[in-house]
Symmetry: D4
């Protein structure tokens, strides 16, 4: 089994339904990853350890998902030197997802989080692949394959739509 190079973490196991989509994309790209629950608010020491050590264990990119006042992505980014991708999650009691989006996106100067769309874990996985592809041309090829596949699906639907309409 390969050592993971992407760390997928989430603030609560209730986020797993969304965050698994990042894992599935990484499976598609054959990128080894790890998956864990790390809560900035309920396990701050674990969060600190995770963020401090991830790069030492060979992790290259961290994907962190959280809802509400979502501090996990930003706190990990404040500690780790790695690029951190933030996934805002629309949890129950969220104010329409705005809380999660803004508390991940609006990081102060010096500590970026690469934020994707609300519930956009799939895109977080693709972005991780693109980041890794900057030093891996085989991965660039796979990204083109993925894009071609998406294009073909749309073209097929276009063909299907026209048949129905005739």
């Amino acid at each position: 089994m390969l050592n993971p190079i992407v760390g997928i973490i989430m603030g609560s196991d209730s986020d797993l339904g969304i965050m698994r989509q990042a894992a599935e994309i990484l499976d598609f790209f054959e990128i080894p990853y790890e998956l864990d629950v790390v809560s900035a608010h309920r396990t701050p020491e674990k969060m600190f350890d995770y963020a401090s050590n991830a790069h030492l264990r060979g992790i290259k990119v961290i994907i962190a998902g959280a809802g509400g006042a979502a501090h996990l992505p930003g706190m990990v980014a404040s500690i780790s030197p790695l690029p951190v991708i933030g996934v805002p999650i629309k949890s129950s009691n969220s104010i329409d997802g705005w809380d999660s989006v803004l508390s991940i996106l609006q990081m102060p100067g010096g500590v970026p989080v690469a934020t994707v769309a609300l519930n956009g874990a799939k895109n977080a996985g693709i972005l991780a692949a693109q980041i890794l592809s900057t030093a891996n041309s085989a991965l660039t090829e796979k990204i083109f394959q993925y894009k071609n596949q998406m294009r073909q699906q749309v073209l097929d639907k276009s063909t299907g739509l026209k048949k129905i309409d005739q």
Copy 2:
């Protein structure tokens, strides 16, 4: 000099203009306090130390102000057993203050932050006094004095307004 029992911290020294209003109110109530810059994102270790030790040093209430993706109040609350009062600050590049308000207010179940109004550092100071007054009846008296003083100011303005209008 008395040992501080309220800790006022802020994510950036640019927040001092607002946060000093909390200090001024504590001066009025003769409550000893300390004032420091502690950034969750730029000094995460110091934030961790501060939150872990404040109650050991005799601090009873923490007031934490921050702007944008404001993680300081919530992170301190995740670590410290003390009540934490959060002051959302409308910083430059803020999206009208919504980012700061939502990333302080919308904490998950288990980790409360007592949030006050945008730029409401003055109210944070009063709330700290109210919290301390729950075990200090002299302070309760002062809170009544403060309320009376506010009332009198409004009544004076009412009188002034009526004179002008005659």
Copy 3:
């Protein structure tokens, strides 16, 4: 039976489903409380009486929940010297909870309300315990226990997640 030291009030009995979560947390912390319906808009005299007398009856902290144009927490805070915790509630016909959040949070200088997250009654209960713990070290211990328990639950879920993933 012990005299209540926390007063939990709500604007409507339809808020009880949410507000009972504050009571459950206070049960956990073994803090005696009372629970009542007090409407700023439909029983203004009772609200006035409640706010004027709570501290005389031994109440130390008031938790007030309300939805829509939620005036209960702020009005109680204008009258009582006690710390008031406001719980915005997402009622039917609310504009996504924004009305309730803003009419509780955005109090003017001089009259703070310690606002928690939308529907965050559980956190209101914890915050009340933290406020009382400032003069009660046994309660501080229980708060640490509560935090440890939360941490352990997350760590257990992390372990569970890793087993599934193997």
Copy 4:
């Protein structure tokens, strides 16, 4: 001097710049009024007295302006039987006026506030005149005059614009 039949109140004398526009319109309609500072949060007893007694003193309509978590119009409406017109005011530290608008507008079933636009004190004055005109046909005539005057001003500007454009 005539007894006032409209009561114009505001939460703070800083609202006077806006609220005076209501008074000016009532001057135009020759409707006697009174003007006072009554703060729901800083003078709750005065607010209670004002709302309880206004109708006994011959007041027919109350216009109440307030900013931020604006509770004055709603609290007065909860106590007084009179129609209450609420004027949301965009104060400093307001979140773009949303706080004031929502805490005046979103009143629960049973306690209406007739809300006008942000800073819309002029319209509050006109609305008061319209309310009084329901039992005063001379006032209805004046309202038509006012509308005619507005129309003529627009028509004059139209004529002016066309001259410039030729």
Copy 5:
């Protein structure tokens, strides 16, 4: 049968479920009313006629409900001298009701609409009664009765809640 003195109109018959609540309150206050569908956008001539003639037919107050880009209340107010109460309705495809609220509330200087809460037709009915009560002391009495009834309901719920809690 008495001549109607309140006109309840709505932009679409799909608004009837909400707007009927205004009618029910007027029934309670024994105020005769009429109910009609008048669309500013689909029947502009009828809207024009309605607004031009309502006061000639003895109507004293108009209640107008509409959703989305809700122009009915404001257009009627631009034509009629009567006080117009606007009820924003959260229709399907509304952007959370904001469109309806803002296009009714934010009328320009000179043309007020007395706006009530989103879906607040019940309050529109009460407000109409309050407006009419300014020249009808029997109606003022009924408004006090209504307020008493509301108060008693809350007090009963308070009693019920305390029984359950014992």
Copy 6:
């Protein structure tokens, strides 16, 4: 002088600074237009007449700008068969322009308004030209010229930027 085929109207002469940008673009495209102040709220009869007759006078497209609760574009569209382009204008006392945007954009099914960006009068002019170009190939040519000109300006700025950077 040519008969106007585009009617530019605005709710207030204070909108002229913005709305003149539509006129300037029509000058560029050599499309004859007229410019007038027509207020839905202060001159409803004139608005009605304008909308009823514009197509009879040879007008092909109406551009209507308004701020706040902006009813002019939608009301004109409800009466006229012509395509109506709506320009939301950020007036003083607007709630950040949202009121104007939503009351123009969110028209009900059956009565479209072609809405452009906040203060987007320039784009309203271009859109009018595009609409007229559907039956005028010379105008299509001019639209391509306009696009080329825009492209060239950007390319020139790109060249300028690179020179500075060297």
Copy 7:
């Protein structure tokens, strides 16, 4: 079969439920159209080709619907000389439709998109008919017929409502 003169495109076949309403209106107006899936993000080359060639194939108006970060209408408008009508679609994971509305509406100066209401595909179809009617008086007649039909439906509902109420 007639050559299409309106092109209806959408970013995803999941938008078809909404976008078909544009097609149905064009059927009513007997305007020939084509329907296709063209994704700015997944088939950028096809989007480019479509926008470059539509006017050469006889298309006069393009209706483009998309959700989320909706770039299709704006990108087509940047390339094609034709008037482009944009339909914001409230997709899953949308932030209440705001993302789609703002990314279609707020186009920069020089590149207009005629934006209709959220999910307003029906109005997009009517607007296309109005645009084409500027050079087709038979179509103007049909638009009047359509308006009459809408008016009659509202009048019928008014009659029905009054019968029920008697």
Copy 8:
């Protein structure tokens, strides 16, 4: 001179004030970059060419800034295999920056844009460095240096604040 490996592009030269902050950070990290104006809406062909060829010219990461309906980052991401960092810019006539934030952030599944805070070009530069550091340990060292420098600045300000307060 080294070949650029980061491409910084912006929709308008008016964005240069903000976007230059990305360049300055890359200077600090000694990462060669290029800077250009590429407008999705005014130079769509150049945008297409840029996005199609950047990776062939050795560019590893693209930073794209744009305001309003900001399509540049998403369109470049749809065409290029490279990671694209989007910088929302608060331009004039923006609706408080929401338009730009949402049209960059809310990309559909399959096409991520790594979005940073409003006007967050500095963070875009740091994120680019972090991405490149995943295959360059010397760069990781520099990122730690940068973080240390930030930390030291905050600690110095803390010391300064305490001196003033004594």
